[in-house]
Symmetry: D2
Subunit: 324 residues, 4 copies
C-alpha cells in the first residue's frame, strides 16, 4: 500500500483531530503517502481530497471538532454516489481508507468495500460510546467531563435553593454518558434507555431523600430514556408529588460535543488512529480498531454494527448505594 486517505464522518467528537494526526504521522513514519478527504463521504464524491504532511497536523492535538470537517452523506447511500466516490479515489491513486466515525460511517464503508474492493479500517469516533468492539470511543471521556462540569455547576444552585434538577445528557440509544456523569456528579438517580426506570421509582427516591432531609436532588436523564425526555418526566413527577416542590430542567445539548479533548481521549485517539493505520497496512479491511482491556483489537464492521454494547449494571447499582 503506497497511498491512503483519512476522513471523519457522522457527528464530530473531541479527539478526532488527535486521531487524524496519528494516522497522518503514522503514515509518514511508515513511508506511505497520506491524503485527507474533507466532509466525509460528500467530499469523497466531490473530490475534496488533498495531500497531507506531518506539518498539516501540527498544533491540532488539543482542538475539538475535526479539521477535515464532517457530514452525513445521503448521496453515498446511492449507487451513483459510491461510483463517483470510487472514481475520485482512483483518480487520486488511493488504495485504502481510515474512516473515523460511528456505525453509519462503517456501514457505508462495508458496502463500498463489497462493491469496489477498497479496504477500510475504522476508528470509533463518537461521544455516545455506543460501539461494540471497544471499551471506549473517541470523545466519550471528554463528553462525560463536560456533562459533569454542568452537573457540578447546577448542584451549586440546587443546594442553594433546595431544588430538584432533571439534567438531560446526550445518548439516544446509550446511557453511558448519563451513568458516568451521574455517578461522578453524585446524582440521586440516573435514567437510561437500557434499563427501564418506572416513574414510581423516581418519586420513591425523591421521597426517601426528603425523609432523610436531603433538600436538593439531581436526576440525570439520557436523551433516549423510554419514559420521555427530561422535560416530560419532570412534568409528570411534578404532578405526582404533593405541595411546593421546586423542580427545574436543564438540557445540556450540543455543548457536550465540543471542547479540547481530555488526556484520555487524546491518547485513545492516538492509539486508535495508529492502530487503524497499521491494521490497514497489514491487510485488514472491514474492521474497526478498538481498545479492549488495554489491548488493541480489530472487530469486523458487521459486529460493531449488529451487536449491542451492554451497559455495566454494577454502575447502576452503585448509584443507589452512593446516593443513600
Amino acid at each position: 500500500m503506497k497511498r491512503i486517505a483519512v476522513f471523519t464522518s457522522g457527528g464530530d467528537a473531541p479527539g478526532m483531530n488527535a486521531c487524524i494526526r496519528a494516522v497522518v504521522r503514522g503514515a509518514v513514519y511508515h513511508g506511505i503517502e497520506v491524503f485527507g478527504i474533507r466532509k466525509g463521504y460528500n467530499g469523497m464524491i466531490a473530490g475534496d481530497i488533498f495531500q497531507m504532511s506531518s506539518h498539516s497536523v501540527s498544533n491540532i492535538v488539543q482542538r475539538g471538532g475535526t479539521i477535515l470537517k464532517s457530514a452525513r452523506s445521503k448521496e453515498f447511500m446511492t449507487a451513483e454516489g459510491r461510483q463517483k466516490a470510487y472514481d475520485q479515489l482512483q483518480a487520486h491513486g488511493i488504495e485504502g481508507l481510515v474512516a473515523i466515525g460511528g456505525n453509519g460511517t462503517f456501514t457505508g464503508a462495508m458496502i463500498f468495500n463489497n462493491e469496489y474492493g477498497v479496504p477500510t479500517v475504522g476508528a470509533p469516533g463518537t461521544i455516545d460510546n455506543d460501539l461494540y468492539g471497544t471499551d471506549y470511543t473517541i470523545g466519550f471521556d471528554t463528553a462525560v467531563n463536560t456533562a459533569l462540569d454542568a452537573v457540578d455547576r447546577i448542584r451549586d444552585t440546587a443546594s442553594s435553593h433546595d431544588r430538584i434538577f432533571f439534567i438531560e445528557v446526550m445518548g439516544r440509544d446509550s446511557g453511558y454518558i448519563a451513568i458516568q456523569s451521574g455517578i461522578a456528579g453524585g446524582a440521586e438517580l440516573v435514567m437510561v434507555p437500557e434499563v427501564l426506570t418506572p416513574l414510581s421509582e423516581v418519586v420513591e427516591t425523591l421521597k426517601q431523600g426528603w425523609s432523610r432531609s436531603k433538600s436538593s436532588s439531581i436526576i440525570v436523564v439520557a436523551e433516549g430514556e423510554e419514559e420521555g425526555n427530561a422535560t416530560e418526566i419532570a412534568e409528570r413527577i411534578k404532578a405526582q408529588v404533593d405541595g411546593d416542590v421546586d423542580i427545574r430542567v436543564t438540557t445540556l445539548g450540543h455543548t457536550q460535543r465540543g471542547g479540547a479533548p481530555t488526556a484520555y481521549d487524546r491518547i485513545l485517539a492516538s492509539r486508535l488512529g495508529l492502530g487503524a493505520l497499521e491494521g490497514l497496512i497489514a491487510g485488514q479491511k472491514n474492521v474497526m480498531a478498538g481498545i479492549i482491556n488495554n489491548e488493541l483489537v480489530y472487530t469486523p464492521f458487521e459486529d460493531t454494527i449488529r451487536l449491542p454494547k451492554p451497559i455495566n449494571e454494577d454502575l447502576l447499582r452503585m448509584v443507589k448505594i452512593l446516593s443513600i
Copy 2:
C-alpha cells in the same frame, strides 16, 4: 452598631460566598458581632439565624452557590411576615443588615426599613448585571465566562459541520451576558431585549456570511429577546431561508448560575461585601454598594430599583465590525 446579620436572597450567583466572607471577616476586623440568616427573608421570619466567626467562612471564597442558601419569600411580602422577621431580629439583638441579592431583595429591605427602622445596605448579587448603581454585579463575569465556554465548544461543532447555531443565554431584561459572550465568542450576531433586531436583519447577516463563504455561524440570543426565544427565532429563520440550511439551537440554562467564581467576581464580591459592611457601620441605609469606575459608591435602593441600566451600544456596533 454592635451586632449585624448578613443574608443572601433571590437567585444565587457565583461570588456570593466571597461576599459573605468579606462581610463576616470585615465585621470581626471591626469588632462587631455578625450573624448569618439562612434562606433569605424566609429564614429571617423563621429565626434560622446563627452566629458566625472568621472560621465560619474558611475555604468558601472559591465556591459557587451560597452557604447561607437563598430563596424568594412570599411571606415577607405580607405585613405579618415582616412583623415576625422584625421580632426575630429583635430577639437576636440584630441592629443592621447586609443583604446580598437583586431588586426584589432591595425592595423588601426598603419597605422593611420604612416600617421598622432596621437599616440595610445591599450588595448586588445577580448574574444578569441588570442593576443600576454598579458597573458590574457579583456573578456576572463568571456567568459570561461559562456562557463563553459553551459558545467555544459549540463553535467546534458548528465549524466541523458547517452549521448555524442559535445559543440562548440568560438575561430576561438584560442583554449583558449575550453581548459579552457574543463578542468574546466571535458570534455573527447578538440579539438583546434592549435593542430590537428584526428577523430580516438576521437573515441578511446569514446571507452576507454565505456570500463570503462563511459556512458556519453563531447567533447569541438573550432569553428576554422580544422576537421570542431562540427556538422560536430559529424556526422562523428556517422558514425564511431557502434550501438545505442546517440550523440548531442550544439553551444554556442553569449551568450559567453555578461554578467557582472567576478572579474578577471574587475580588468584586470582596470589595462590595466589605463596602456594604463599612457603609452600614458608618450609618448608611437603604443603599446598595456598587463599584463605578473603580470607585466604591452607594446608590439609594429606590434608584437601583427604578432606573434602567443602559446597555453599551458601542459593543453592539463592535459585533457587526468584528463579524465582517
Copy 3:
C-alpha cells in the same frame, strides 16, 4: 463486622473524597457503623476519631484534597505509636479499617495487622500511578489532565516565540504522568525514570525537528528522570547545541496534586472505596482493592509494595511516531 473506620494517609490525591464517600455510604447501606480518622496514622494514635453518617459526606464528591486530612506519621513507625493506635481503635470498638493511600500506608497497615490483628483493606490513592495491583490509581487521571492543561498553555508561548520548553511533571519513580501528558500534549520527547534517555538522543530529536523547520519543541521530564531534573537537563542541552536557541524550563510542582477530580477519578474512587469496604466485610485483609481490565481485584499488600509496575513501552514508541 459492626464498626469500621476509614482514613487517608500519605500525599493527598484528587478523588480521595469520592472514595471516603463511597466507604461511608457503602457502610450505611450495609448497616455497618463507620468512623472517620483524621490525619492518617497520627490521628489514629491521637484518637482523632469521629462517627460519620451519610450526611457527613454530602457535597464532597467534587472536591480535591481530603476532608479527613492526611499526614505521613513517624510515630506509627514505632512500636509505642502502634500500641497507642491499637488502644484507640479498641476504645472506639473499631474492628476493621479502610486505608486510602500508597505503599507507605499499606506497609504500616501490614505491620499493624501482623502485630494486632486489625484487618485493613487498602484503596490506592496517589497521583503517581506507581502501585502494582491496579491499572490506575485514584488521582492519576486528574493529575495528568492538570499537567496537560499546563503543557497546552505553554505550547501557546512556545509556538509564539519559537522556543524549546522542558516541562517537569511529578513522578519520582514513575513516568506515567510524564508519558500520558506528553503524548496528549504532543511533546517531541518524554523522559522517564523507567527508561534511560541519553542526552544525545534529546539533542538528536531537537535537531531533527529543526531540519523539518519545527521551530518550537516541548520535552516532558518526570521528576525522577535519571539524567537529573529538568533544569539540569536543559542546562546541559544548552551547552551542546550551537547558537541562539531559546530554552526555557517550567516545573509544574504541587498544582498537580489538587483540583476537582475528573469523572474518571471520581468513578474509580467510588468503585475502589466500595470495593475495599465490601472486601473488608467479606473477610479480606492485608490486600489492596484495584481495578484491572475493568474488574475489581484484591492484591496482597506485600505484592503492591514489592512488585514494580511496568510502564507501557508501546506508549514511548508512540511518542516518537507522533512527533515525526
Copy 4:
C-alpha cells in the same frame, strides 16, 4: 491612509489574537488594506510581511499566543536594523502600524517614528498589567485566573496537610497578578515589589494564624518582590519559625502566559485593537490605546514608558482584613 500593518512584539499574552482580529476586521470594515508582520520587528526587518483578509483571522478569537508570532529584536535597536525595516515597509506600501506589545515595543516605535515618520498606535499586550495609560492590559485577566486556578489547587493540598505554601507568580516590576490572585485565592499575605513586606511581618502573620488555629496558609509572592524569590523567602522564614512547620514552594512560571483568553481579555483586546486602528486612521501616532474608566483613551508613548502605574493600596489593606 490606504494600507496599514499589524504586529505583535515582546512576551506573548492571551488575547493578542483577538486584538489582531479586531485590527484586521476593522481595517476591512473601513476599506483599508491590512498586512500582518511576523515575529515583531525582526519580521519587519526581514520582510516577513503578508496581506491579511477577514478570513485570515477566522476562528482565532479563542486562542492563546499570537498567530503573528512574537520576538524581542536586538537588530531593531540598531540604526541599520531600522533602516531595513523602513525599506521593507516602503516596499510594501505600508503607511501606518498597529503595534501590540509593551514598553519595549512602544520605545522602538517611538524612535522609529522620529527617524522615519511612520505613525504607530499601540495596543497594550502584556500579562503584567504594568502599563500606564490603561486600567488593564490584554492578557492580565487570563493570567490572574490561571494563577488563581493554581492557588485553588494548592489550597486543596495545603488544607489536607496543614502546610504553608509560598506561591510565586509573574510580575517583575508589578504586583498586580500577585494581589489579584492573592485576594481571590484567599491568601494570608501577598508580597509585591511596590510595597516592602518585611520578613518579620510574614512571620507575624503566620503566627497569628496559628494562634487562631489556622493550620494552613498561602502566601503569594510576585517574582519581583524585593526580599527575594519565593524559594529564598521560604528558606529564611523556615529559619525563623520554631519547630516542625511544613513549608513548600511552587513557582507557577510560564503556564501563566498561555491558554484561551477569558471573556474580559477578548473584549478588552477587541476594543483596544479597534481603538488603535481607528486612532491610526484618525491621524494619531506615538500613542497607546487604553481603556480607563470604561472609556477609550490615547496616551503618548512617552508617558506609558515613563510614568509608573500605581498599585491599588486599598486592595493590600483588603488582604489583611479578609485573612483575619
